[in-house]
Each structure stands twice: as structure tokens, then as C-alpha cells.
């Protein structure tokens, strides 16, 4: 393979039975990987069932019926990795599985790892541990306990927890409010049988995306694809696209007390922009200027000038058109912090944006687009996101669209960005003590 000089390319190999297979080309990495994503609608009744699947499947499979056996095999394959997890992108619920191993040339005798590692991946995907038309009860029960514990432990990380609560309040009644692991009450309704039925739906009817990257020959790829399609599939489920528009009549304000030292303030905004719209690119620039990096208005004003916080930033949720501003502050500074934050949003709307601010943001986006191509995982995520939203742009053309954005474009999208909810996790006069 010749040098692609930093270029990253994607080639669609085939699309069969609702599964799209892609080859990601970049010759600089010393690992080979396969990523599979099954896609479902994010729904309250299905979220926990989807979320538990990777945990159950990772517990073992036909040939390797325990974690010990599976993990020992992976260690023998030079620390290969086979795993999975769930994530939500907008109102799509993704169940991901992955395999990665070091390239054959780094092994002792040029051992061929791809086929063996793919067999392991297919083993966990296709031959789970079952009994009585359901998942093996002992495995299922343990993983359901773990899922419930995981849901409860959301409270441990106060930054994530406040973000999650802000979204839950802001999107109340919309599918996006459903967390990716579902809720405890829904997890309790899972049984080995109904979960196994959902697993079969995933295998047979969820649309899927498969990405193969790194050093691997065409024959091995073809064998992998043939093997993947061997079992056959049923009717393919069609997935809804989320609605990014919302009329806001009143800003929702929620305050919750907790025994913590630092207050967490989250402001949720609707951008009203969907990820395929041409306005998406100015929106990303908008977010960068407001709170994306150290040069941003939030970092400069909340942290550097007012000295109120260690972090003050804004993040976009691309697929649902949301923007959340987050900061950790002393409870007594809450009002002041909120005023400074809203002043920055207002300045954006009024067009108080300097050339330095937009230039720095656009440069940082350009750097980001290039740097992303140095990580196999980030490349997979970029193309997955493009494919989910039916955007044909690659790294180059996306970067070009960012370059074209002007201050006028940013001010235009700023007009429709509206505050929807304010969430504050409030410290309850708490003094830390070590017993």
C-alpha cells in the first residue's frame, strides 16, 4: 500500500440485507479493527433491552463460555480487544461491537490475527449463552443487576449527572430525554426471554453499519462479509429522524439540592438546526466562539475575567440540535455566573464577535478535522455520523464548509438559538469530612 500522505478515505464495499459495509483507508496505523453498529429508535420500552445486550454477549459464547476463557484467548492474540457498548446519537440508539488487534507484522512469526479475531467477534455476536429460549439465566440476572447499578451510579459523576438531568428536564416527553441505558423501572421488566427476543430483532432487523480499517487483505474482508451475511436477515426496520424544532413558551427552571461542595449549572438551548442543514456549519463555529475552547467567550469571561469557575464551556448535540452550557461554581455565585453566560449568548446574537474570535475558532476546527484522522476510532465515528445523517461530505469537504463560514452566517444562526431550560445542582451546606 502506498502512502496516502495523511489522507483518509472511505470506500463503500457493499450494502446487503440492510447492512452497509465500509472500508476505511489510512495506512499509518499499526492496528486493524472492525466496528459494527446496529441502529434502533430510542424508545423507553426498548432502551434497557438494547443497553444490556453488549454486557450479556461479552460474558461468553459457544466456544468461550466464560469471561476467563474469552479474555485468555484475547491475551494470546497479542492483547486483542473484543467488546461492545451502547450510545445514543440524537434519537437513534446504537449498539456497537468492535474488534481490534495489532497488525500481523508486529507479531513473532507474522501470525495472521484478523480471521481469528473476527471469529471471536462473530462468536460473541452470534453464539450467546442461552437456555429455555432465553439468555442463560445466571448471566442475565447478573447483567441486569449491573445495569441497574450502573443507572443508579449516574449520580457519582456530578458533571455528567447535571448534564443528564438538564437534558431530561429540557426534553421531557421527547425520546431524547431517555437515557442510553434506559431507566431502572424498565430494566426491571427485562427477562431472559424478552431480552433474547430483542437480541434476535437486533441481529435480524436493525439496520447496521460495519467499518473495517487497518492492514487487512481483500480476501479476508470478503470472507468476513460473507460470514456476516450467512445467517440471513428479515425485514429491516426503518429508523425515525429526530425533530430538532421546538417552540419555547417559557424557560423551564429546575433546582435540586445535593450534598456536594460545588454547584453545577447547566443551561440548555435549542438551536433549531438539523445536522444536514447548511446552517449546521455556522452553528459549529457559533459554539466554538461561545464556549468551545480556551479562546471562547465563556472561558474568557466566566473563568479568566470573573474567576468564578475552573470550567465553563458549551457543547453541541449534533443530531438533536441542542446546545448545553456547563460550569462548576460556588452556590453563592450562581446568579452572577448565569448573567455572564447569558450576556455572552446575547453578544453572539447582537454580532459582537471579533475577527480574532472567529478566526481562532475556524483554525481550531480545521486542526480538529485533521487531527481526527490520526485516530482510527475518531475516523470511524466521523463516518458513522455522516452515514447516519446522510451527509456525503468527507474530511476535506467538511473542513472546506467550516472555512467558508462568515461572521454573518454565525449571527444568522444565533437569532434562532433559544434558552429552553436551566438546571442547577445546588450544594446543601455540605462540609466534607473524613472519618
Amino acid at each position: 500500500m502506498g502512502s496516502l500522505a495523511g489522507k483518509t478515505m472511505v470506500e463503500k464495499l457493499t450494502e446487503k440485507q440492510g447492512i452497509q459495509f465500509y472500508r476505511l483507508k489510512s495506512d499509518k496505523f499499526n492496528t486493524t479493527r472492525v466496528d459494527i453498529f446496529f441502529v434502533d429508535d430510542l424508545e423507553k420500552e426498548r432502551a434497557s433491552g438494547n443497553a444490556i445486550l453488549p454486557s450479556i454477549l461479552k460474558r461468553g459464547c459457544g466456544k468461550y463460555p466464560s469471561i476467563t476463557e474469552l479474555e485468555r484467548k484475547l491475551e494470546e492474540l497479542y492483547g486483542a480487544d473484543v467488546g461492545g457498548g451502547t450510545l445514543k446519537k440524537g434519537e437513534a440508539h446504537l449498539i456497537g461491537f468492535r474488534m481490534s488487534h495489532i497488525s500481523d507484522r508486529y507479531t513473532f512469526n507474522n501470525t495472521r490475527l484478523f480471521d481469528e479475531c473476527c471469529n471471536l467477534l462473530m462468536c460473541i455476536l452470534e453464539s450467546p449463552l442461552t437456555e429455555d429460549n432465553g439468555f442463560k439465566k445466571s448471566v442475565f440476572t447478573k447483567e441486569r443487576d449491573n445495569l441497574i447499578n450502573y443507572i443508579r451510579s449516574r449520580i457519582n459523576n456530578k458533571i455528567h449527572f447535571s448534564l443528564y438531568r438538564c437534558i431530561e428536564e429540557m426534553c421531557h416527553g421527547e425520546p431524547f430525554a431517555i437515557p442510553e441505558e434506559g431507566t431502572e423501572e424498565d430494566a426491571l421488566l427485562l427477562t431472559p426471554q424478552n431480552t433474547f427476543a430483542q437480541y434476535k430483532e437486533m441481529i435480524q432487523s436493525y439496520p447496521a453499519y460495519v467499518y473495517i480499517s487497518g492492514e487487512v487483505d481483500d480476501t479476508s474482508i470478503q470472507n468476513f462479509i460473507d460470514n456476516f451475511l450467512k445467517a440471513g436477515r428479515g425485514d429491516i426496520k426503518s429508523i425515525k429522524t429526530p425533530d430538532v424544532k421546538k417552540e419555547i413558551s417559557e424557560v423551564k427552571r429546575v433546582e435540586e439540592g445535593m450534598e456536594v461542595n460545588q454547584g453545577k449549572l447547566c443551561l440548555g438551548f435549542r438551536t433549531q438546526i438539523d445536522p444536514c442543514s447548511p446552517d449546521y456549519y455556522p452553528l459549529v463555529v457559533y459554539n466554538g466562539i461561545l464556549g468551545g475552547d480556551t479562546h471562547s467567550k465563556l472561558f474568557q469571561n466566566v473563568r479568566e475575567k470573573a474567576s468564578l469557575a475552573y470550567y465553563a464551556q458549551s457543547v453541541l448535540e449534533k443530531y438533536k440540535g441542542l446546545m448545553i452550557v456547563m460550569s462548576g461554581i460556588e452556590a453563592e455565585n450562581r446568579q452572577k455566573a448565569e448573567e455572564i453566560i447569558l450576556k455572552q449568548v446575547e453578544d453572539m446574537r447582537k454580532g459582537n464577535i471579533t475577527k480574532d474570535e472567529i478566526d481562532a475558532t475556524k483554525k481550531s476546527l480545521e486542526t480538529g478535522m485533521k487531527a481526527m484522522q490520526d485516530s482510527q476510532g475518531a475516523i470511524v465515528d466521523f463516518f458513522l455520523s455522516q452515514h447516519l445523517t446522510n451527509c456525503a461530505d468527507d474530511f476535506e469537504s467538511t473542513a472546506e464548509k467550516f472555512r467558508q463560514v462568515t461572521i454573518d452566517d454565525v449571527v444568522r444562526v444565533a437569532q434562532n438559538i433559544q434558552l429552553d431550560a436551566v438546571y442547577f445542582l445546588k450544594p446543601k451546606n455540605f462540609k466534607e469530612g473524613i472519618a
Binding site: S3, G6, D27, K28, F29, N30, T31, T68, E71, L74, E75, E76, L77, Y78, G79, I102, Y106, K142, D145, N146, N149, Y150, R152, S153, R154, I155, N156, N157, K158, I159, E259, V260, N261, Q262, D293, T294, H295, S307, L308, A309, Y310, Y311, G328, E330, D359, A360, K363, S364, E366, T367, K370, A371, Q373, D374, S375, Q376, E432, G433, I434, A435
Partner: protein
């Protein structure tokens, strides 16, 4: 220009080494095809260096906890503005970190490497502190400290260190406390700066698709400061025994969190340190890794879950191994794990497990070279322990079972300490 070129054929990497006239060492790793370039400028000075002789005087001082980290924040400030802004204008992303033994300033960029690299080398040599900008930073760092106070994983870790260590400053929180940072002044910060920010105590590491001569000549042109002589650090005597066996704190968590640790009382550095670290990692993986029988037993018994981790933290100045995660019954879990560690100290590791896990570590080593940032961090860290990250490849060849078993018996027979975070 004189520099050394070292080829590591097995992993297909090349290391370039250069020494500046001031005594500053520079390392460069070329990564063809990578867009990202990362440069680090670090000093072998971290939170544990709180007692030292100020350069150029005989006075030995004890400085407030958290001062190394405070200085890290302040170095970004320059007379003509904040460095963060200047890097931003050039499309680079700058940052810094302070750990127990080092403070490292870095940036990554894809374009304009020379301009960015020159800026990095320049500002780290030129602190600009005022009473006013020192005061202002106390609010920001105060909030950083408050954030960590609410972080249960951070707390369970430092509470364990407080159990393990009687005197050693590794037990102190890296950012200090709100109280300790209130005592930090411009003058104290300059004392620390002048003592530890001296070429022979520092290192420059660059990784990316660049030309070695270009990298080294920028260093040649930009490094202006002279070496101020050898740094005299002083660490207190640390007894072999624990400070306490158990520590408990209440925080808002869903289920108890535990961290169990054992102190390694043998101090090594250089190649020996890499060897010892690897031996301990392999052994812990054998006893507690996902492939171990114990992990599976504890997991199936519901005593641990997916959050369970182990770590080997070995440095010239301190060392410990630790493990933990969520557990409904930390004391019972800790008892089982302690038993297994003590048992392994006597029994050692089997031939089969040793070679299987060694192979997995070799794979992970290869994987690390996929990331420009990881390479830079590992090179810096190894250098400050008098070792070379590239020697890790040789460690995997040299390590054997008898050495590994000797290390196990030295470390795992020590008493374990337990730190627990209980729900409110």
C-alpha cells in the same frame, strides 16, 4: 548538528536524541503520515517536591501544598497576554498537566509547527507573575479543588495514599487545598521556578511528521536560559509500615467504592524501574485481570462489576500497586483480594500465565505507537525516571519468571490498606 538516531526495527519506529548546550535533552519521534504534531516541554518537578534548597542560596524551604500545579497555571500568563490565546490564534491547542513528579507544558497542532513550538519554548522560560494575577488564579484553582472534592474516584484514590504513606508527600492532593493555596505568593512561585525550571532538570519531547534537523534547530535558537545547577530535592524518610489500614469517607454515591493498595518499599530507577513495573503489571493482571479466576469469581458473586481496575504506580521516589471499583461489600471484597495477593507472593506466577500476559503487554506497547500524544507522554514520563520508553521493548525480551517471582515476593507480602467511599 549532532544528534543520535536510534532505530527500533521490531516496532518500526525511530528515535532522535539531541542535547542542547545548556544541558537540555530533546527527543523526537517521527510519525510519517500523521497530521498531528505534539511538543512537550516538561520539568521534573511535581506535587511531591515541596521541600528543597532554593537555587543559589543555602536556605531549605517547605512550600505550600499545590504550588507546582499553581505555577503551571500561572506560566500561561505573559506580559502581553495569555498564551492560550496566542496558541489559539495559530490553530493549536495548548495545555499542561502537573502530576506527582512532573509539570509538563504542551500543545498539539497540524500546521505552523515552528511558530507554535517557538512559543512553547519561549514562554516556559519566561514567567510573568504579579501579585494581582496570582490572586486572580486562586478563584479558578479553588473551583478546580472543589470539583475534585466532589469526585468520588479521586477521593477514594487520595484517601488510599493517605493510608499507605506516613510522611511521603505523594499523599498530598496535587492541587493542594483552598487553605494551602491561600498562602501562595509571587515570591514563593519564583523560588520554585528558579529552582526547578532549569535545563538539566527539564526535557523537550516532539512527536509528529517533521524533520529532526528542523526540530532541533528551533530548540537551538529558542533556548536562552542557562543551567542553574543540580536540583537538590529532599523527601522525608518513609517507614515500611502503613500510615493506617483503613479510611472511610461519605459522599453522594450509589454504592460503596473501594480502593485497596500495597506499598512497594524498594526504590529503583531507569531500566530496572521499567522491568519492575512490567513484572508487577503482569502479576496483577494474572491475579486480578479480567482473565483471572478471581475476577470471575468476584464478578459472579456480585462483589465487583465492570468498574473494577488495577494499577501499578512506580516512580523513582515512590511506588504502590492498587485496585478497586464499586462493591456492595468493600471489606469482604478487600479481604478476598488481600488473601490472593499474599498467596501469590508465596506461589508466584505460572509459566503459562506469564507468557500469555507478556504477549498481551507487547501488543499494548505496539498499540501505544498509534497515538502521537501517548508516545510523547510515555517518553517524558520514562525520561524523568531515568529510563527510555523505547527500552520497554527490550524489557519484554529480558523479563523472566524468576525475576518476576522475586518482585512479587518483595511487594505482595506487604500489608494492604483499604480506602472506602460510602453513600451518604
Amino acid at each position: 548538528m549532532n544528534y543520535r538516531t536510534l532505530n527500533f526495527e521490531k516496532i518500526g519506529e525511530t528515535l532522535y536524541e539531541y542535547e542542547h548546550g545548556s544541558g537540555l535533552k530533546v527527543f523526537f519521534v517521527k510519525k510519517p503520515g500523521y497530521n498531528k504534531k505534539t511538543a512537550m516541554f516538561g520539568t521534573n518537578y511535581g506535587s511531591i517536591d515541596n521541600t528543597f534548597k532554593v537555587q543559589g542560596s543555602d536556605k531549605e524551604i517547605v512550600v505550600p501544598d499545590g504550588i507546582a500545579h499553581f505555577l503551571e497555571h500561572k506560566l500561561f500568563e505573559q506580559e502581553d497576554g495569555n498564551m492560550l490565546d496566542k496558541f489559539s490564534k495559530l490553530g493549536a491547542s495548548p495545555n499542561a498537566y502537573t502530576s506527582f513528579n512532573q509539570t509538563v507544558y504542551y500543545f498539539s497542532c497540524t500546521d505552523l509547527f515552528e511558530e507554535n513550538f517557538s512559543m512553547l519554548l519561549d514562554y516556559v522560560q519566561n514567567p510573568w507573575l504579579t501579585d494581582e494575577n496570582v490572586e486572580k488564579e486562586k478563584g479558578i484553582i479553588g473551583q478546580e479543588i472543589r470539583m475534585y472534592e466532589d469526585n468520588p474516584n479521586w477521593r477514594v484514590f487520595f484517601n488510599l495514599l493517605d493510608c499507605l504513606y506516613v510522611n511521603h508527600p505523594v499523599k498530598l492532593d496535587i492541587a493542594g487545598t483552598i487553605e494551602s493555596i491561600s498562602k501562595i505568593t509571587k515570591e514563593l512561585l519564583y523560588d520554585c521556578y528558579h529552582t526547578f525550571y532549569t535545563p538539566s532538570n527539564m526535557v523537550v519531547v516532539v512527536v509528529g511528521d517533521l524533520i529532526p534537523e528542523d526540530v532541533f534547530s528551533i530548540v537551538e535558537n529558542m533556548i536562552k536560559f542557562k543551567d542553574r545547577g543540580k536540583v537538590e530535592k529532599k523527601y522525608p524518610e518513609e517507614p515500611a509500615h502503613l500510615n493506617k489500614e483503613y479510611n472511610e469517607q461519605k459522599l453522594v454515591v450509589s454504592m460503596p467504592l473501594f480502593y485497596l493498595g500495597v506499598k512497594d518499599n524498594v526504590r529503583v530507577s531507569g531500566f530496572e524501574l521499567l522491568k519492575r513495573r512490567t513484572a508487577l503489571s503482569i502479576v496483577l493482571n494474572d491475579i486480578l485481570g479480567r482473565s483471572s479466576e478471581l475476577y470471575n469469581k468476584l464478578y459472579n458473586d456480585g462483589l465487583i462489576n465492570d468498574t473494577f481496575r488495577f494499577e501499578v504506580s512506580l516512580d523513582k521516589a515512590y511506588g504502590f500497586v492498587a485496585c478497586g471499583g464499586q462493591s456492595p461489600d468493600p471489606k469482604k471484597t478487600a479481604q478476598v483480594i488481600s488473601g490472593a495477593l499474599n498467596e501469590a507472593a508465596v506461589k508466584g506466577i505460572s509459566e503459562e500465565a506469564f507468557s500469555r500476559i507478556l504477549k498481551a503487554y507487547q501488543g499494548m506497547y505496539v498499540r501505544n505507537f498509534n497515538s502521537v500524544d501517548n508516545i510523547a507522554r510515555e517518553l517524558t514520563d520514562a525520561y524523568f525516571n531515568d529510563a527510555s520508553y523505547f527500552d520497554l521493548g527490550h524489557v519484554y525480551e529480558k523479563l523472566d519468571i524468576s525475576y518476576t517471582n522475586k518482585v512479587i515476593s518483595e511487594v505482595l507480602s506487604n500489608q494492604t490498606a483499604l480506602s472506602v467511599i460510602n453513600p451518604q
